[in-house]
Subunit: 184 residues, 2 copies
DNA sequence: TGCAAATTTGAGCATATACTCTATTTTGAA
DNA sequence: TTCAAAATAGAGTATATGCTCAAATTTGCA
């Protein structure tokens, strides 16, 4: 694939365009022409760098799912995780948008994307649950898991609300929801 | 348009197909061929009943936005409204799916749909807020509005969670969220 | 039952789409 | 500086898409 510097730069421009368009029109609505026009590239150049349109889409989708989760693993607190979620939503809004698009469609008709999403979701629940149990071990795994599922679901809802109305107080509502999760 | 019985039946089959497909692939992904194939109708028949593909889509979208809200207006309690939301999500899942698809994409690139959605959303917030204030007038309009925005956002998140994982206890989480909204 | 209006079909049209191929230019290690 | 590998442009291909139209069939009121 890309070996020269210009090639890598072009690849980045294509991925950036794909990201913006996926946030806008979703996996089902994106077209090659839209990508190449926005990236300022002809079809031939695109196919020199990506096997298919789907390959570029899947690259961005993977990115978006991975970007949901903060880097340091192990002993993050629930605050850290919620705060990382809020940061992701506010500071990487294109990627967040892509993630939410995938979450709602669950992309029934696209097996690799569905699989990625399901794995990411399961992993996130485990990580959040572990953090909650470190803080409140008396809750127990089953109840902690249920509360975390609700927390993450609510956070997704808040993320959507914020993108409908940018004045939505994502941080405040997330904190309140975190408290509810902890103390119920 | 449709005047004979067969025509009205065909119209219904087309709308049913459109509904199912919108739930699957969203506004950006739906195609005329997919609609007519699923409805068992040729293109000519479709265009005898609808001006454009978009007209059928918009009809279903309107339906989905309207179906979000329960019929009786006026003195419903917050429980009634939340319970109606849960019922809508569980018993009209195609339509709920369409609604959520629109909520995330907010359909930036489709002015009439965006407008409809925004109006429906604003109306819903008012209705929920009124119900909350009837029960807890001491909260006051600004705080009540903020809490309702969070409640509705969380409910949307729960709706998405339920459709990712049908075992998600939508009713339980919605009730808990309702309590949080009331008592905080 | 006659018949005008409604419905349905299916071929056809213009454009969009995903992707290929060849010729040309650019890159950067030796 | 040379030159093979890489990058790019852009015309071309096959299929998909939204939609039209004329002809044939069906509907249901008078």
């Amino acid at each position: 694939m890309a070996r020269y510097k210009v090639g890598l730069e072009t690849r980045e421009r294509i991925l950036k365009a794909t990201r913006a368009l996926l946030a806008d029109v979703g996996v089902e609505g994106i077209t090659l022409k839209a990508i190449t026009d926005l990236a300022g590239v002809r079809a031939g150049s695109f196919y020199n760098l990506f096997e298919t349109k789907e390959a570029a889409v899947l690259t961005v989708v993977r990115e978006a799912i991975a970007a949901m989760d903060p880097g340091d693993e192990g002993n993050d607190t629930l605050e850290d995780l919620v705060s990382a979620y809020v940061t992701f939503m506010t500071e990487q809004s294109s990627m967040a948008q892509v993630y939410l698009q995938i979450a709602v469609s669950a992309t029934r008709n696209n097996a690799p994307i569905r699989q990625r999403f399901a794995n990411g979701h399961r992993y996130r629940i485990e990580r959040f649950t572990t953090a909650l149990l470190r803080d409140r071990p008396e809750i127990g795994v089953p109840e902690a898991t249920i509360r975390i599922e609700a927390l993450i679901a609510a956070l997704n809802g808040f993320g959507i609300a914020r993108h409908i109305d940018p004045s939505f107080d994502l941080n405040g509502h997330a904190s309140r929801m975190l408290e509810l999760t902890r103390t119920q």
